[in-house]
Amino acid sequence: MRLDVVAALFMTIASAFVLYGLSYDTRLVEERVHAREELAARLRSDIAVLKAERAHLARPERIETLARAQGMRPATDRQLAQDTAPAGIITGSNPSQ
């Protein structure tokens, strides 16, 4: 058998091994990407559910009840100090001290 035929045969077999190796690596990477995509989809789904749960828990009806239980209520004009009021009233400090 001529040398060039032997070399071509060797190159073919070598290429086949390289290609097989590349194909294997590609499938491995694809599998990893797929796993990541699945994880991302699952996390996206979890985030959507958590967002909905947070919105449900923070709905105004519930927050208002909790706020009122803490003694909070809407601001009124009686909670505002006039700018002519003594500084101590506005800051809460005692000027005599």
Binding site: A41, A52, R59, P60, E64, D77, Q82
Partner: protein, 560 residues
Amino acid sequence: MYRSIADDQGRKAERDPRAATGRGLRLRMLGVIVGIAAAFAVVSARLVVLAVRDSGDLVIAKADPVATSFARPDMVDRNGRLVATDVALRSLYADPSVVLSRDELVEKVSSVIPDIDGGGLRRALAEPDRRFVWVKRGLTPSVAQRVHDLGVPGLDFKKELRRAYPLGLLAGHVVGGVNADNRGTAGLERFIDRAVGVEGVHGATYTSSAPVTLALDIGVEHTVEDELALAMRSYGAKAAAGIVMDIDSGEVLAAASLPGADPGSPADDSDQERLDRVAGGTYELGSVMKLVTLGMVLEGGTRALDSIVDVREPLMAGSRRIEDEHAAGRPLTVAEVFTHSSNVGAAMLALEAGPERQKAFLESVGLWSPIATEQGPVKAPSVPDRLGRAEEITLAYGHGIAVAPLQFAAAAASLLNGGTRVTPTYLKQAPGTARAGPRVVSEETSRALAQLMRLNVETGTGKRADVPGYEVGGKTGTAEIAIDGRYAEKSVISSFVAAFPMSAPRYLVMVSLFEPKGTAETRGEVLASTNAAPTAGRVIARIAPQLGVMPKASAVAGLE
């Protein structure tokens, strides 16, 4: 012939070894070509057999559709708080070819999901060429687990996107709803399908579209709904509607109609009890219309606020006698016609203006023609075919014309915002966006109307709407409801249209109570001054701080 050529080639090969190798190569190639041709012939023959064979033996399975649901963008309120979102839930389906016993399947599934249509499911499972039957879509995780635990062959799950409304019934009429495929069927959900776009998806693939930002403020919406519910209980009203609108941009910050609608299970359109009374119904709103009448009069320039109108004599509108319920017994100024809510005075002013001007003014403020919002068309106003004397008179104090509260609120905002027409919108506008439409009244007229509204709360029929520090202005309207062609005296719609702060109006609030009853608190009255006005006042007291409106320190005696 071939033999002779072969013999000839054989002889050549004996003479030349290279010719012998070439001959062998050609033979192998011929063999490969024949092999490939044979394979193609087999495939072609098979295709012909399939084509001409009796199609009765062919089975086309009814598989699930390509796009089983639609991915929708989130809906958030003007402050970014979530109103509607997609979540992935399991939907249950059956493969009839794998089901061993239809009766057992239906019986067992019904024990976990009682509301399935057993008969329909049995029929669908009995169809011979069917491979896919929805059993129940959008199961909660716990129900899905219980169905899974049944271990019935032929059942399986598919993850799908389903719409979730974490705020429950809040703003249900405005938000609308979706069908089983997650497509919008009503309200702003339908608008999203039409104008924003949804993506057909197979499985639970979330959309990457940006959220749709609404003009609604869910805090304000909750407050309005809470106060309306309280008013319905306190005054025995059958229904209630409330609107909060940015007076310059027309953004609707709250639109509530009680009894409310659940976006998760959209109401039947024929359900009159749950009708959207903000935009889906038209009503004679009574004396709140005097705001429009006074706007027309002041803009016409023929009357000043202090000019005198002699309202001592009743007016005749056809066979109907028009007189003031609480007559002052003396001539009134134009301003007093408003604060005393004089029907006779308003009618006389309208008659002075004439029918053409009255109709033109109603058209200019947007009360004569239909309007639409992102939610859909607002119920078209009912207006008289022609404006005779009787119609001129009744229109002046809000009878003979029926409009949706939202349409009236937009007209009132147009009169109070400096005089430019606004179109109501449910979408958030960029800060400072002036969506100024055509001018309807001058700034001077607009200021005068704002002063009248404030005066009415300080000294007139709207006293109970006052909230210290917030300079509330408003107008009452108590409209008797026509039943079988006759007005029923104690069956009324009582409304209050308010704005604040009146030194530079920013927000409009409108409250309507449907068929309130007289109570001890109202001394048996059903007048708007006794029920709608205080309701509007309570709404304003709660929403003003949320909207960042600072109270004027009008009566500060010290800190609380």
